[in-house]
């Protein structure tokens, strides 16, 4: 029974990892860009939530109303002013520019907020739990986060496959120059995609802030979790990303149960095993 509980916790954490991954996956799908600063942007969102919560005196979960638009606007500006200039066949510029961005964000946050560990208090919901019978219990907050993660992925799927914007994303990803012939301004499409990605990052950041301690240096680890979830799930598939996140969460939970020092290692090993046995991921979408 204890193991079942452990696995359940792992599944719920997996939802959070899937949210880390969804924004990453989206950007790669639309413009073949991997944003090395992605994890640091999640941490940035957490700090924005910190500032918003302090300034407005509201529950951190409500600060989403501020954090999401702020991060989305930041994403649009970032893509329009900086990242659009790096797109092209050469993979060095976007990689190095986003790496530089990662360093800037980490050190900027360090300057502004010091290396002190923070955490946002969401109140009673943090300790509340749901008893599922048979000795199984889940925390209400983790459950909420998981449900939101599933909802976000479902919403992204719907957006991509049922709306005009999603059509524009897919068309631009297929063929940039013909997309222009449809009247689409590529710069604007890419900037919207980044804005969307950072909106998801904002949600992930707020959840991160409420769930655990955070400080400016934890960005890269979030990037790696997101990346591992994307690769394990399969490139191009958002639901696959959810599966990948769950696998990662469960692997880490099992590892932690065996020995607290093995938590991260267990996750990485699960990733390496999937990479060795099924490099295309578990649910790859064939890219058209």
């Amino acid at each position: 029974m204890e193991w079942l509980n452990i696995i359940l916790q792992g599944v719920l954490v997996g939802g959070l990892y899937a949210m880390f991954a969804a924004g990453l996956s989206l950007i790669f799908g639309v413009m073949r860009l991997v944003n090395i600063a992605h994890g640091d942007l999640i941490v940035l969102a957490a700090y924005v939530a910190l500032v918003a919560t302090d300034a407005l005196g509201v529950n951190p979960l409500l600060s989403l109303v501020v954090v999401v638009p702020v991060m989305a606007a930041l994403g649009y500006a970032l893509q329009w002013l900086v990242l659009n200039r790096t797109l092209g066949d050469d993979l060095l510029p976007p990689l190095l520019v986003t790496f530089g961005l990662s360093v800037i964000i980490q050190n900027g946050l360090l300057e502004l907020f010091t290396a002190d560990s923070r955490k946002l208090q969401a109140g009673a919901i943090e300790t509340a739990s749901l008893h599922l019978g048979g000795g199984l219990a889940v925390g209400t907050l983790p459950l909420l986060q998981f449900v939101v993660a599933v909802a976000v992925i479902a919403a992204l799927q719907a957006l991509f496959y049922r709306t005009a914007l999603g059509r524009a994303f897919r068309a631009t990803s297929d063929d940039q120059s013909v997309a222009q012939l449809m009247g689409l301004d590529n710069r604007h499409v890419f900037a919207l995609a980044m804005a969307l990605s950072l909106a998801v990052v904002a949600i992930a950041g707020v959840f991160l802030a409420v769930r655990a301690n955070f400080d400016p240096s934890i960005g890269p680890a979030r990037l790696i979790f997101g990346f591992e979830a994307v690769i394990m799930g399969g490139l191009g598939s958002l639901w696959g990303t959810l599966a990948g996140g769950i696998i990662l969460g469960v692997a880490q939970a099992i590892g932690a149960q065996l020995d607290p020092g093995w938590q991260l290692l267990a996750g990485h090993i699960a990733f390496l095993i999937v990479l060795a046995l099924r490099p295309e991921g578990l649910f790859p979408k064939v890219q058209g």
Partner: protein, 234 residues
């Protein structure tokens, strides 16, 4: 006499060090069908790409609806009413037939062309509307490409080698639809290697040879010898 809808003035165009067009001039009146013929490499596609804005040109080199548009990027020219059916169809593989058509209408320009009317024009597409666009036959894909361009309700439709790679019977089928397309005053520029179809469909013909206009005139007035001479440069 009113300004032509499209005016190309002494257009130069090239790819890096290679110049493809040398001072090409051309005019298309409203409602007119113009054919541009020439051998491979003569510069026909380059001409269409320059008109559509896929390739850059001097501000005044392309004038549309009385205004210089040479410095406008491609997506802004679509908004003005220029649509290109690109060489090789270039449908979006991730989109279905219907989605390819719908994205053509992304800008929402007012006009007679809508999904229902495209399906009327090309009934076979209605049957396959949910299939991935690239799973259709070559001829059907060409219909999707044309329909997609029409969905933007253009004033000027540019067709780049729509007969390429298609069986003659399919080509005839597509060209048979052209009258319905231009019936409401749409202007057309067709680039073709199939001279017979081009001359049958058009009222004015330009022949390009190595990046220059070697011959121009009314379709009916040009002799076969003159065309052959201009085409091959003998």
């Amino acid at each position: 006499m009113p300004d032509p809808l499209l005016e190309v003035r002494a257009l130069d165009a090239g790819y890096g060090d290679f110049q493809a067009l040398f001072g090409v001039s051309l005019a298309v009146a409203a409602g007119q069908v113009v054919a541009v013929i020439g051998a491979n490499g003569a510069g026909k596609s380059t001409l269409l790409k320059s008109i559509a804005g896929v390739m850059p040109s001097r501000r005044d080199a392309v004038r549309f609806d009385g205004e210089p548009v040479g410095d406008l990027p491609a997506h802004r020219r679509v908004a003005r009413g220029i649509a290109l059916v690109p060489e090789g169809r270039r449908l979006f593989p991730s989109l279905s037939v219907e989605e390819n058509l719908k994205i053509g209408g992304q800008l929402g320009r007012p006009g007679p062309w809508a999904l229902a009317r495209i399906y009327e024009l090309f009934p076979v597409l209605a049957e396959r509307r949910s299939q991935p666009a690239t799973s259709l036959s070559g001829g059907q894909q060409q219909m999707v490409a044309i329909g997609r361009a029409l969905m933007s309700n253009p004033k000027l439709l540019l067709c780049d080698e729509i007969s390429l790679g298609l069986a003659p019977i399919v080509v005839r089928e597509i060209y048979a639809r052209l009258p319905a397309i231009v019936a409401e005053g749409l202007s057309l520029v067709i680039v073709e290697q199939d001279i017979v179809q081009a001359l049958a469909a058009a009222s004015q013909v330009y022949c390009l040879q190595e990046g220059r206009v070697a011959l121009e005139g009314a379709a009916g007035a040009l002799t076969r010898e003159a065309i052959a001479a201009a085409y091959f440069g003998v």
